[in-house]
């Protein structure tokens, strides 16, 4: 294995007095820097990132490719370690990956030799097996698959279902672990437009039901406005940072058809486009970090 595994989680930080503070600043990112040391030298990917995410908030990271938005997400996930600054989630420093910060990967990353049920069960087992019986674990797994509308496909292997279904299983796997934060790395990027719209609606419903805190990377302006409470717009790399944060005050539940003509929606959409194309235009042929 090329990657060493993180040590088991440290015990929970004392809750209670810090609860209010935690709710306001559930994820706290302070002066974070990310420098990659590669064979061709040092690459300064992110500089001076400050971001707070509230509990239950839906935040999207948007920017041109190469702006380091996926890097920032991987930092929150703990898959990468920042080279400067501090990152805190639910009162504890982010020291590595953990099921409490579940990731939905862009290419679903389901294990092809396991059924949909077993893919979800793998995470459920890891998180809950100490306290719950096998039957309870199975019930959790079925509930998660039912949440994304796929309980009927639980015995199928990933190659037997469509791309959109795979991504839903990926979401079920993440949600089944009852994470504190759901991290999504362009989860619908590889899907066709109609499937993507459908899954966005599903995600809105699911998040409405579970009240999850979500940080999602996207390059789709409509997706960002439709889903987010706040849109974090990033400048172009190298040494990218947060250019602007836009609060999206649209009532929930949101309906894409009604919103399409809503002046507020149109305004938000225009602001994001303005940022991305007027003020921080498409960089040259820089590759994503």
């Amino acid at each position: 294995m090329r990657t060493s595994l993180p040590k088991p989680m440290v015990e929970r930080a004392a809750e209670g007095s810090s609860l209010v503070r935690n709710a306001e600043r559930f994820i706290e990112i302070r002066s974070v820097e990310m420098v990659f040391t590669t064979r061709s030298g040092r690459f300064h990917a992110l500089r001076d990132i400050h971001l707070d995410v509230k509990k239950g908030e839906f935040v999207t990271l948007i920017g041109h490719s190469g702006c380091g938005k996926s890097t920032l997400l991987n930092l929150i996930a703990g898959l990468l370690r920042c080279t400067g600054g501090t990152m805190i989630c639910a009162g504890r420093e982010i020291a590595g990956p953990s099921p409490e910060r579940a990731v939905v990967f862009q290419n679903h990353s389901l294990l092809p030799w396991l059924t949909c049920f077993d893919n979800v069960y793998l995470g459920v087992e890891r998180v809950f097996s100490a306290k719950e019986s096998k039957a309870q674990l199975a019930a959790r797994t079925h509930a998660a698959l039912a949440l994304v509308g796929l309980d009927h496909a639980s015995a199928k292997r990933p190659h037997e279902i469509s791309g959109g279904m795979k991504q839903r299983v990926g979401i079920a796997r993440a949600l089944a672990m009852e994470p504190k934060v759901l991290l999504m790395d362009e989860p619908f990027g590889a899907l066709d437009a109609l499937t993507r719209a459908h899954l966005q609606d599903e995600l809105l419903k699911i998040v409405g039901k579970t009240g999850s805190t979500v940080v999602m990377v996207t390059h789709d302006v409509d997706e960002a406005v439709l889903l987010s409470d706040r849109i974090v717009m990033m400048t172009n790399g190298p040494a990218a940072t947060i250019g602007e944060i836009l609060s999206v005050d649209l009532a929930r539940p949101r309906d894409r058809i009604a919103l399409a003509e809503d002046p507020a929606y149109v305004h938000y959409r225009a602001s994001v486009l303005e940022f991305l194309y007027r003020r921080h235009g498409m960089p040259g042929d820089k590759k994503a970090a």
Partner: protein, 300 residues
Amino acid sequence: MSAVLEHVEPPVKAESAMSAQSVPVASPPPPKGSPAAWLAVRATALVKALVPVLLGAVVMTTLWAVIAHFIPQIPTPLVTWIEAVKIFSDPFYRNGPNDQGIGWNLLSSLGRVGLGFGLAALIGIPLGFLIGRFSFLDKMSSPVISLLRPVSPLAWLPLGLLMFKAANPAAIWAIFICSIWPMIINTAVGVQRVPQDYMNVARVLNLSEWKIVTKILFPAVLPYTLTGVRLAIGTAWLVIVAAEMLTGGVGIGFWVWDEWNNLNVTHIIIAIFAIGIVGLLLEQALIALARAVSFGNDIT
């Protein structure tokens, strides 16, 4: 020749069977009309598939008959067929060590291949895992493997004779040497190519070391290892014939050489077909096994 022709055809059929499996396509709509019409469609498809195969066999047999016509020492297809029926109707007789049925000869060869190959798998697959996981071991072993791999396994036979002081273990030794390389290399490549995504999943789910090996590494590497196994068996079956010609004893390779000494060309030709058919069956069995663990991925 026939072995080659037959060899090509089944994998092609297998490919189409596989794609039919992986893509949930509805079976072709039953043509409107009676079941007899449907049967006719199926029969046509079958004939279409069989025609090239039969044609190949006919061309080969004709060529053979022409050659046999001009070189009288070579038996005609008909003579060979009659002799083959005779040989295969009593494959398990024993008249002393140098005269045994073809069944015994094939079984002893298979036994040697199985033993040499089994030992190679036992050592080669774990070694491949280690080499794939630790780049230091990879750098350490790859020059040695690159140096030794192209050597004909028969070159190792004298060393085997020297070490084991007997012909049979020396033949097994040659099989061991020739079949270990593909298994080491393919397993190592498989481990190196476990997608980083899967390892990221393992990290996010915080899976235990044991779960990582059993749920991710092993299943991800299995198709690669099986490709190595298939290559190894193929080479081993090639090598055993040559090794047995040199070492003697009971075995299909020795039988070929023995019949050459008896100037029984018919038996040599029958042996060639028998070797080809056994090799073909081994290959097909392993392809079927590989397909069972490929999970919708194409196998090569």
